[in-house]
Symmetry: D3
Amino acid sequence: MRPSGRQTDEMRRISIETNVNRHAEGSCLIRVGDTHVLCTASVDERVPPFLKNSGLGWVTAEYGMLPRATNSRMRREAKEGLTGRTQEIQRLIGRSLRAGVDRVALGERQIVIDCDVIQADGGTRCAAITGGWVALRLAVNRLMKSGLVRSDPLAAPVSAVSCGIYAGQAVLDLDYPEDSEAGVDGNFVMTGDRLIEVQMSAEGSTFARDQMTVLLDLANKGAVELAAAQMAAVA
Amino acid sequence: MRPSGRQTDEMRRISIETNVNRHAEGSCLIRVGDTHVLCTASVDERVPPFLKNSGLGWVTAEYGMLPRATNSRMRREAKEGLTGRTQEIQRLIGRSLRAGVDRVALGERQIVIDCDVIQADGGTRCAAITGGWVALRLAVNRLMKSGLVRSDPLAAPVSAVSCGIYAGQAVLDLDYPEDSEAGVDGNFVMTGDRLIEVQMSAEGSTFARDQMTVLLDLANKGAVELAAAQMAAVA
Amino acid sequence: MRPSGRQTDEMRRISIETNVNRHAEGSCLIRVGDTHVLCTASVDERVPPFLKNSGLGWVTAEYGMLPRATNSRMRREAKEGLTGRTQEIQRLIGRSLRAGVDRVALGERQIVIDCDVIQADGGTRCAAITGGWVALRLAVNRLMKSGLVRSDPLAAPVSAVSCGIYAGQAVLDLDYPEDSEAGVDGNFVMTGDRLIEVQMSAEGSTFARDQMTVLLDLANKGAVELAAAQMAAVA
Amino acid sequence: MRPSGRQTDEMRRISIETNVNRHAEGSCLIRVGDTHVLCTASVDERVPPFLKNSGLGWVTAEYGMLPRATNSRMRREAKEGLTGRTQEIQRLIGRSLRAGVDRVALGERQIVIDCDVIQADGGTRCAAITGGWVALRLAVNRLMKSGLVRSDPLAAPVSAVSCGIYAGQAVLDLDYPEDSEAGVDGNFVMTGDRLIEVQMSAEGSTFARDQMTVLLDLANKGAVELAAAQMAAVA
Amino acid sequence: MRPSGRQTDEMRRISIETNVNRHAEGSCLIRVGDTHVLCTASVDERVPPFLKNSGLGWVTAEYGMLPRATNSRMRREAKEGLTGRTQEIQRLIGRSLRAGVDRVALGERQIVIDCDVIQADGGTRCAAITGGWVALRLAVNRLMKSGLVRSDPLAAPVSAVSCGIYAGQAVLDLDYPEDSEAGVDGNFVMTGDRLIEVQMSAEGSTFARDQMTVLLDLANKGAVELAAAQMAAVA
Amino acid sequence: MRPSGRQTDEMRRISIETNVNRHAEGSCLIRVGDTHVLCTASVDERVPPFLKNSGLGWVTAEYGMLPRATNSRMRREAKEGLTGRTQEIQRLIGRSLRAGVDRVALGERQIVIDCDVIQADGGTRCAAITGGWVALRLAVNRLMKSGLVRSDPLAAPVSAVSCGIYAGQAVLDLDYPEDSEAGVDGNFVMTGDRLIEVQMSAEGSTFARDQMTVLLDLANKGAVELAAAQMAAVA
């Protein structure tokens, strides 16, 4: 029934290749099916002005998409300025990753996560969060190895997955053909069995509470698989 | 326990004054406690290019905040450009209102909802959606009276309310002092007993699924009260 | 003869409601007929860089118009950037109000006057100056009550009114239908019987010196009425 | 008494060199003392959209200042965007020149007047209007010679001059040292003995009506001299 | 002598992986040592306005660098706007590739080459031209296979390489440590044994004509190797 | 054969008028045929941040073109932002002039060269470099006279000229009609018999190495004439 032939609760193939950038303190190329996102973590010993002398660290994110990541070429954002969609996504990524960070343990420094979509097939923001956590983990490992950070500011992996109602069925991990047709869909950011962010919306439609429950169950299943892939990648 | 002395499931006082703008096809000033938003609906017989000759209508929204709507003066957006927060909010308002519109019945025309926050005390985006629907309803009434629209494109009111965990307790309709302290909060857009959009997030924290259930129950109670106020206003 | 049926030397109904904003140090909603402007005064203990350590205070103004303040909806300035017209108006408001301020007595602090047009029917810049002075007066009163300012930096009210030649007749306080037809019009900023700023221009036409004299006489009459309304509002 | 040693009613030396640009349909370099402005008139057979098929012509102006036209170098506007001051000035120039044009006689075409300040010593907007009219006159002469325009759309020259109260004395044609000290000053745009625009303002001060009368008398004297120089230049 | 241990006339290892993007009509990832550039070619059946109905095709290029492509993170261009350096580079790439295209044979369509630097170590604009041609070649192959283009608009490969005087020695294919130290360097765009563009400059220094000759000889050697790699990649 | 009737190796008439701006520390109006560029040098005792406390001076350049410098009016850059072409040119001018400056001898100060094209007929960037050096020389002379600079930071003049293949013939100093037709052209920045920058490009075509040699010979001849004019102007 799904265009890809997947089961309703089947995720796309996940691959996470680490250390793909020789300059960044942490990096990975995450592939969730045909969605490919390059994630780098850059450590900056200076924090933003509002945190000066607070003793607290900061994690923030930026997101971009190459013009031909999509089926038809999009205009280059460097020419046009950041769209509202891009700003909304990078705020989500930053908020999600910060929820999994002990900012006291991180110490007064900033880590910038850059998530650049090399190829898109739906679910780019979820892949960015999942891969962004891997880059962050690797950068933090390096800070700990160098002694700059003593106690580990990270706990369980933070990952994200989308679910939605496609052709009347609740499905896990929407690809682009499903995403563009789904009447209801949501993004679920999780760590362990706890939630960090839930965004559900109905495109030109509405949904009942029990539909939400079904999607949350699917998301939970996806989060377990993503966390396993993340842990394997950083092992 | 709440700074305002309200019960955990008690909303702020709601008032909706209609026809406050002599030019707009529909308008209201919605007050949810000390949050005051001026909403106007402007009918435009032209649709955006992507809808030309589609026979479908469009509803979109713009959101702004006067510089001194807040406790300390903010910089004027007209000088600085739209922030990411503003863009995220106006996309939410537009999406929410469109979910309650039969775009075939509306016909090939556009209604622009402007939501300008005159005074802010938390929950401005929720007030904007709730008041925006009232302005939209009034503008559609005028289109129907004039015969331009035959069958009513609107059904039950669309409204929105925030809920969150404040000082360990689930509370309905956060005001600014609560909102700035809440570890978990969410915005719930509803129509009747169905959901249009759910956005829950944990600021530097996480939440369990059963907390979500409690907040949804509170939101449901709020939605009933808001819908009553909306119906009274447009009667 | 006038579209509104007013006498040539008759102003529109003036109403000034004060303390309409719970956050601002001074505020009012001024209504001159169907022109409604919300004015707030925000005290900032820091001055702009060019006044650091000068001992002198500063008063500046910003002006905006809600998109549907006008008969047909205008594009939102936050999206497009400030127009030249807006910048010209806010420079005028700031200059006019500063002319009535003893900057030594005010002390090294800044007061920002925000004038936001809620509904427009001609003469918005004049209403903004008149209402802006009221907001300024209220904010200064508060500074004096708190002891931060000892000697009163304000004297007589500063107000503004437009006059023009409409249908061959000199008329006071142009509304929009008159303003869009007038071949010659002017804005007159006054304090007591003295002038602060005179801007007269002929749209595609010219005028003689004695026409200017007639308009100045009308403006003088208007200024007396406006000052009375301002004094009553702040009493 | 004046820094330059001039009489109170004495203008600076005026020189207008025409046809200084080989490409433009009309051009001049106007020098009013040490204020030098290069003015070109460019004929465009297309009008702005709002005049399509109206049969009416249009005259508009743009104004700029080279970064080192002033005593200390200013930032280049092409890098920073147009300032409010620049926009205010170019609106004034356009309005002033249009007041002296019969737009029916001009026919449906546009003339763009570019006024670029090569060197500044006060009064640049006045010099721009005065020189801009000369460039316009030359461009219109060419249109008439070619038969594109039959009846002359221009009448008497449009010129502008500033006057002000400097060191307690009313003086004509302020140079920069006077302009930066004057408590009251004004710009007067005239054609023959009629006025097109009057802008008087008091920097941090006020003025009485009879001071205005004195300045108008001085402006009148200046306009006569400027018109003579303009007529000689285009002869 | 060279930081990398290479001979003076030795290029870095070149690898060109093709068809790395499932959406683009042509694509490759070119690696010249540690400089990695992702190149895509997007066919657009519409040409820019200035070529409408000319029968001529167009090739243009856009260039970007991911924020952490460099040793220390750069600001994201989408936030800041295109720098002058970026614009200069993308004009160079477009010009260079167009020189190798028969625009009549291409027919009235546009091919946009996007060159995004994934990792930088000097010579990014040269790698972008070399890889850009490969993407272009692949896209043109597809157009020919589909019958949209009949006669081949491309001839010999277009490639580019940098040379410079490093530590007193003429060297081929500068990497970043060499590039940042070189007193004289140049970029040479070639096709076969003919030149398309030569840009030589002396950073704070000068050079003699015979130094230019030596660098041209080196560039020629590099061009032969690059062309071989390009032909192998598209075979 | 040339549209102007010049010999292939004949430059246009050069005139350099110095001290044309009363404010600037150095200035000239350079005319190369019908290309007229106003150049000013502004001394600023502060250096850019990256040179603070380095003891090194800096020379930078900005370039602009008046809207009607060209045959048909261009849009004003202050309205549209700097084009890529403008940025490329001003980077070239700055780099070229810095190559001829001993930055230690100049001392920790900045000189900004503004080059504004008053009238264009091809070769504006070359005229800007040539005239820019004259303005720089005059400003440095003044610094030396005042004792602020002790040892002369400038040596031989820096000048620039374009050459190209027009109608099959190598020609010196292209004017606009030649420039717009030339298949191959180049800009050559020289000081004495040494080169500072060479930029050769083939518009939609290619060139052989021996063509480059011929153009370099022509450029050398031009540089001798330009240096003589520069030395005469500053004598």
